[in-house]
């Protein structure tokens, strides 16, 4: 399933990545292989940022706000949002590092960083959306400011 389309706004298209490699068959083949592996794992990147965001929303609105310390303040919600962002970035990049063998193709590292960055942003967005849903429908001790 090609979920990499969700990242096209930052990664560019497959053609944009492979075009500079067309002059060299070996580089082109490696680049194509690299892109294909990225595509094949793309559903996992999406699952990862959704799970990270959902987990951090749950932790903020439930167990974290059962502990004293004025955790209902907006700054703590923001910290958890930042944690979602950073965690998604690290997890996504880390997963790619393990699952996809490193490639010497020019632009490969940059692509991975951009993908991880985009996942981080999506995670923050999902964190915000899940927060809205939680504040509207579910019980919490936190301030329902969304």
């Amino acid at each position: 399933m090609n979920c990499l389309l969700l990242y096209e706004w930052i990664l560019g298209s497959k053609n944009d990545f492979l075009k500079p490699l067309q002059g060299n068959d070996a580089w082109y083949k490696e680049g194509l292989n690299f892109w294909t592996k990225l595509e094949n794992n793309s559903i996992l990147y999406i699952i990862m940022f959704i799970i990270v965001a959902a987990l951090l929303v749950y932790v903020y609105y439930k167990p974290f706000n059962e502990i004293p310390g004025r955790h209902f303040k907006i700054k703590y919600w923001a910290y958890f949002g930042i944690a979602a962002l950073v965690s998604s970035f690290v997890l996504t990049f880390g997963y790619m590092y393990i699952a996809i063998p490193p490639s010497n193709v020019e632009g490969a590292l940059s692509l991975e960083l951009k993908l991880a960055f985009a996942s981080a942003l999506y995670s923050a967005l999902v964190y915000f959306l899940f927060s809205c849903i939680w504040c509207k429908f579910l019980p919490t001790n936190a301030y329902r400011f969304v």
């Binding site: 004293p68 907006i74 001790n141 936190a142 329902r144």
Partner: protein
């Protein structure tokens, strides 16, 4: 609803009633009795009398607001302000001023009409026997200046035929009770207590009044006054003990109360300014203990024979906490600790922009600016000063560490509470609010007091273990 008419006679009566009001606000229970204070002090401009009236008005306003449900009344809260106070004037729907102008510059000799006696009238000798020339020349605007012989005459007139005494008898019902608070070393209390008792037990046309279950607390000397000769005052604390002995000798054969509480100190630990006009005496531990006598009285049944009660402390310390007072004082210490914690919440919450109950329960800026909350704030300010006076007086009542917000686990001395700072109480307020799904009313003020009490009690109830 059953009532207890609390007669507060003289300066000590006023100060003890102040402590009663504070303890009631803190959550001490009157066992279902509505308290009807009747303040008897002819000292016209006494600041603490005016302050007590203001305090009572505020208490009543807060209580009434806490049970208000539009057109109906809710049950009283459990916890803060759980018992009702009603003024005699409110029962009667008219002004029954116990502040009758017997004083206002009139000399006692004029009051008893010595000038109407002929030069050779033998009654002059009687008057000279009963009253000194100083007694006769004293004006009555500042009370009886520690002279119960004067008080007996004037107060007798005050009570007899007074509108408020008639109103009291009219509103007294079968299960109601009477409690009298007085000192035994002053002028007003020492004379007023036996007089009032006599009038009550002599009310043959009102059998409910005549046979009422009656309690009294008599306060023995617990403070001194600066040397009268240096201040020009007529009140001399050097003869407090002499007067006490004389009064107690009289009480031995004449007292008519079913329960008589004696409260006193081992010595005159504190010396105040001898200003008969101002009588600016700070709140004292003895007054607090005298106040607790009312709550004890309201739990007791009619005895078969007259009961004489007192109470002691565990250890003779100048500054008392729970361990030096003893386990018998847990209820008082908990109440005061609870209200001082309420004060913390009252000060902190208006500044909490993201406190969840702002949205969930409407505890927003409009709520905090409203007259109800402002009344609570003013009452609490008075409470804080009252406790501060108790904690700094001699002997001090100081069971709390209330000046360290960073570590509140030691709030009650000698105990460790689980709540380390105010955020613990805030969280508990939120949790209790979330648990409360009832739609019985929409009284935000009541919810505020209710959740605050539940939060505080969840930590301080440990004191009873």
């Amino acid at each position: 609803m059953k009532k207890v008419f609390v007669f507060c006679i003289g300066g000590t009566g006023i100060r003890v009633m102040k402590s009663i009001t504070m303890l009631m606000a803190s959550g001490m229970n009157t066992n279902g009795y509505m308290v009807v204070p009747v303040i008897l002090d002819p000292h016209l401009d006494l600041e603490e009398k005016k302050n007590l009236h203001t305090l009572l008005d505020r208490y009543i306003a807060i209580y009434d607001r806490s049970i208000d449900n539009g057109t109906s009344r809710l049950n009283p809260l459990e916890g803060f302000f759980n018992s009702e106070i009603k003024l005699l004037s409110q029962l009667n729907n008219q002004s029954n001023d116990t502040q009758q102008p017997v004083g206002s510059g009139v000399q006692f000799s004029s009051y008893i009409g010595t000038s109407a006696l002929g030069a050779n009238d033998i009654n002059h000798y009687l008057i000279e026997t009963l009253f000194s020339s100083k007694n006769l020349k004293n004006t009555l605007s500042v009370g009886f200046k520690g002279n119960p012989n004067v008080g007996t005459v004037v107060l007798g007139d005050m009570i007899e035929g007074a509108d408020w005494f008639k109103a009291f008898k009219t509103h007294f019902e079968k299960d109601d009770r009477i409690f009298i608070i007085s000192s035994v070393f002053g002028g007003t209390g020492a004379s007023g207590y036996p007089l009032l008792e006599k009038k009550i037990r002599g009310s043959v046309e009102e059998p409910a009044v005549q046979n009422a279950l009656m309690g009294a607390v008599t306060v023995l000397p617990y403070y001194g006054l600066k040397d009268a000769s240096t201040t020009g005052s007529d009140i001399d604390s050097a003869n407090f003990y002499t007067k006490t002995k004389a009064a107690l000798a009289y009480y031995e054969t004449t007292v008519k109360s079913d329960y008589l509480y004696y409260i006193g100190e081992t010595s005159l630990k504190q010396v105040y300014e001898n200003d008969e006009r101002k009588q600016d005496d700070k709140a004292n531990f003895i007054e607090l203990i005298a106040a607790s006598a009312l709550f004890d009285f309201l739990k007791r049944a009619r005895p078969e024979s007259r009961q004489y009660l007192s109470r002691a402390i565990e250890s003779d310390q100048d500054s008392l906490d729970l361990s030096s007072m003893g386990a018998g004082y847990k209820d008082i210490v908990k109440s005061v600790a609870d209200y001082m914690l309420l004060r913390e919440l009252i000060l902190v919450l208006p500044k909490e922009t993201y406190f969840p109950l702002k949205k969930n329960r409407g505890f927003d800026n409009a709520f905090y600016s409203d007259t109800d909350f402002q009344s609570l704030l003013q009452f609490t300010d008075t409470y804080y000063h009252w406790y501060s006076e108790l904690a700094q007086n001699k002997r001090a009542f100081a069971p709390l560490h209330y000046d360290s917000r960073s570590d509140m686990s030691g709030w009650i001395k000698g105990m460790k509470l689980k709540a380390k700072d105010d955020s613990y109480y805030l969280l508990r307020m939120i949790q209790h609010s979330n648990k409360d799904k009832s739609k019985e009313h929409s009284n935000k003020f009541r919810y505020f007091l209710q959740f605050a009490y539940e939060a505080i009690d969840s930590y301080t109830s440990k004191i009873n273990n």
